[in-house]
């Protein structure tokens, strides 16, 4: 057990910090052309991701030809710690980088890899992930989008929903049903679908926080033609890829969650210096102090839990803690925003803010943040699904 990293690891960190200092995107450029969805990659963001790739700082655990430097697990952890400290993300097509690229690496044919993998890593092509459907939100195995093999092509018909970034992405990494006779979990395949194909209709779904902000989309496929060569992995074996796709980098996802929460704790400390409803500093109110301290305990605990889980992860053990961290982290954030909003009283009703973006001069209002936290308690498996997973897969309770 150690509170500190060894010197070699700290040298790795120092090298990264120095590089980031030199190479981070220019604040003015970011503000001038902000990303508008999880697949909208402005020019500055593409250039930044390329710089990361070229320097081996995009996916440090991978070999240099794939944007990495064969970094050790501990080095990767340090990497994620550092990346959480800077105000830009490493990729503005995060699902492309963290879900689809690893899946391509693991499951795609050499020809597919040549066509898609490096361009994705260099942000030359962007992706959306076609998983959820109207009748199958939490229940992926129930998906019904049909792909019929006719000779050397598939004809795809159906509907996806909650598809992040679909309006801006070049390709969809799409889970489709290729055998409707087989049991639910079989008969699923993965196709790469060109989003410019005829027969695709994308309808944006603005978020509850902001009518102008729409990362989610409905995607309608009506007889869309997909070449057979775009089938990833074997036919009808897509289910195992679904589980695999989502697992990538999970062992370290908590680092950005923990960093964001720590920043929000700092915001609460700032809020404590403003007057409360009785005119005194909010920080003088023992109830507010108690709640903030409670949140602080939880945030620090989240970080400690992450490190503990990482110790297993680094040794190649399964880290079922992902569900625990996801559940706990997203619920802390929701509670944190609510504590802040309620402490503000009527002042909390003022939601004048230019919309979510990056490097803004003003923080988003707490009410907006609160509403936005539901993205994390709903998407990627609701909190209820996480609890099921913990109970059944981690604790071994019998399925109902």
């Amino acid at each position: 057990m150690k509170l500190h990293y060894d010197d070699a690891t700290e040298r790795f960190r120092a090298e990264l910090r120095a590089w980031l200092e030199e190479n981070q995107p220019d604040v003015a450029a970011v503000r001038a052309d902000p990303s508008r969805s999880s697949a909208h990659v402005p020019e500055w963001a593409r250039a930044w991701q390329e710089r990361l790739f070229d320097a081996g700082w995009l996916v440090p655990g991978w070999p240099p030809e794939l944007g990495g430097r064969n970094a050790t697990p501990v080095q990767q952890l340090v990497y994620f710690e550092e990346m959480a400290r800077i105000p830009v993300m490493r990729s503005y097509n995060p699902q492309g980088l963290t879900i689809i690229a690893p899946s391509l690496r693991d499951f795609a044919s050499p020809a597919q890899q040549a066509r898609f993998l490096v361009p994705s890593l260099r942000a030359q092509i962007t992706w959306c992930l076609g998983m959820s459907e109207p009748g199958a939100g939490s229940d992926l195995a129930g998906l019904q989008t049909r792909a019929e093999l006719q000779g050397d092509r598939f004809l795809v018909t159906g509907q996806k929903v909650w598809t992040s970034g679909a309006a801006h992405s070049d390709f969809c990494f799409c889970f489709v049903r290729t055998d409707s006779e087989a049991p639910k979990h079989r008969g699923i395949s993965v196709l790469v679908i060109d989003m410019r194909s005829p027969g695709i209709d994308v309808r944006s779904m603005p978020e509850l926080t902001d009518r102008e902000r729409a990362d989610f989309n409905e995607v309608f496929f009506d007889g869309v033609v997909v070449p057979r060569e775009n089938l990833v992995g074997p036919l009808n074996q897509g289910w195992s890829m679904a589980a695999g796709s989502l697992a990538h980098e999970r062992g370290m996802l908590w680092t950005s969650q923990a960093a964001r929460l720590e920043q929000q704790i700092d915001r609460l400390r700032e809020l404590a210096r403003t007057p409360g409803s009785d005119g005194r500093r909010l920080g003088e109110d023992a109830v507010f102090r108690d709640r903030v301290a409670s949140l602080y305990v939880d945030v620090q605990a989240l970080r400690c839990m992450g490190y503990r889980g990482f110790a297993k992860f680094a040794h190649g053990e399964a880290a079922p803690e992902h569900s625990v961290l996801k559940l706990f982290g997203s619920e802390i954030e929701q509670r944190l925003c609510l504590v802040a909003l309620e402490a503000q009283g009527a002042e909390g009703l003022d939601v004048d803010w230019a919309g979510f973006g990056m490097m803004g001069d003003r923080e988003p209002p707490w009410a907006n943040r609160y509403l936005h936290t539901f993205a994390n308690t709903i998407a990627g498996g609701t909190s209820e699904i996480q609890r099921n997973i913990i109970a059944q897969r981690v604790l071994g309770l019998p399925r109902s």
């Binding site: 509850l208 005119g279 909003l341 309620e342 009283g345 009703l349 009410a367 308690t377 609890r387």
Partner: protein, 369 residues
């Protein structure tokens, strides 16, 4: 102790519910939130059907009923997510004018309210947070001059008349004035629930004529407190109404939405959340109705009951708004679903006139802890 509404009350409630169901779908609030103009309904119906004067004396053209009837109507407005000036006019403005006991002002402005010719609101006094100095008034001959700002005034930039509490040197330090809209400098707030407009209201040396001074300057603190109690109970009732509709939508969704081959309402996790939401709604509704009776009968437990109701309504919306979004899943996260409209309204109900936490602090004081 009888919590049962009378037959007449139930008839009134049902008729209001009918009209609102017809004239005031949530699309009215949505249009307002999405930047549309203030809707004509349901205010027009309220005027035509006399709801504006329900709790006003017949002498002023009202129906001469009590706060119970008004409260039931307000709860229905909450259920319908009604936009418009009804809440502020009938439960903020009218009580403040009425409580002064000023017959002349009543005959003039409250009769206008009853006729639907005047909308109003109230600026309750210095911001509790001390973020501004509130409004100060000084005598100028027969008249008074008002200076200062009031933040987060409901309908502050749209109500015809504003009843304003201001600090004065004399007596208990509190005086009440009526100020017409055109004398105000308003800054609209970009608000969590844009169908519930709020404004920061500036008084830039506003001169108030003697006939617009309400009651006795320097002897108005009690009046202010009583009116605010009434307004708090009304807001609690509205919040309960909003939570009830939201909960009905949750139940409907839970019965219809199928996942893993079953309606999600058959999952025990969803069932238990719904049971807990129901408990909170019943709790908030029962305390709000209790407070409604207390105000109607002018029982000595007014302050206690008002804080009880407001705190319980706050607890209720806290759980119901959260779980409503959560149980709706991805759908609840979209702008196009009405869930967030109800959640915004309910949360606004907690943040105005003192949060649950603040009302618990008042209760602790009343309990002499």
């Amino acid at each position: 102790m009888d919590f049962e509404v009378s037959e007449e009350q139930e008839q009134l409630r049902a008729s209001v519910a009918d009209v609102l169901a017809r004239e005031c779908p949530p699309s009215l609030a949505r249009a307002r939130v999405e930047g549309g103009d203030a809707p004509v309904q349901p205010w027009r119906s309220a005027v035509e059907l006399g709801w504006t004067g329900i709790a006003l004396p017949e002498a002023w053209g009202g129906l001469g009923l009590s706060f119970e009837e008004l409260g039931l109507v307000v709860e229905e407005h909450g259920r319908a997510l009604a936009p418009g000036p009804f809440l502020a006019t009938t439960t903020w403005f009218a009580p403040l004018v009425r409580e002064t006991g000023d017959e002349v002002a009543g005959a003039r402005w409250l009769a206008a309210v009853a006729r639907g010719e005047c909308t109003g609101s109230a600026a309750w006094g210095p911001d509790l947070a001390g973020r501004d100095a509130g409004v100060r008034a000084r005598r100028d001959g027969d008249a008074w001059i008002l200076e200062g700002t009031q933040r987060f005034v409901l309908d502050g930039d749209s109500a015809d008349e504003l009843a304003v509490a201001a600090q004065v040197e004399a007596g208990d330090g509190c005086a009440l004035f009526l100020v017409p809209q055109q004398a105000l400098k308003c800054q609209r707030v970009v608000s969590l629930d844009a169908s519930r407009p709020l404004a920061h209201v500036g008084f830039d040396g506003v001169r108030v004529a003697p006939d617009r001074v309400l009651g006795e300057p320097g002897a108005s603190r009690g009046v202010l407190a009583r009116a605010r109690e009434e307004a708090s109970v009304a807001l609690a009732l509205e919040t309960v109404g909003t939570c009830r509709t939201l909960f009905e939508r949750v139940l409907e969704h839970a019965r219809q939405r199928v996942q893993f081959g079953r309606p999600i309402g058959s999952f025990q996790a969803v069932q238990h959340k719904c049971a807990d939401m129901f408990v909170q709604i019943e709790k908030a509704r029962a305390t709000a109705h209790f407070a409604m009776m207390v105000i109607a009968e002018d029982d000595p437990r007014r302050a206690l009951a008002a804080s009880l109701a407001k705190a319980a309504a706050g607890d209720c919306q806290r759980l119901v708004a959260k779980e409503a979004i959560q149980i709706h899943g991805g759908m609840g996260f979209t702008w196009e679903s009405d869930v967030h409209l109800f959640a915004r309204r309910a949360k606004t109900g907690d943040l105005l006139l003192g949060t649950a936490r603040e009302h618990r602090a008042r209760l602790a004081a009343l309990l002499e802890l």
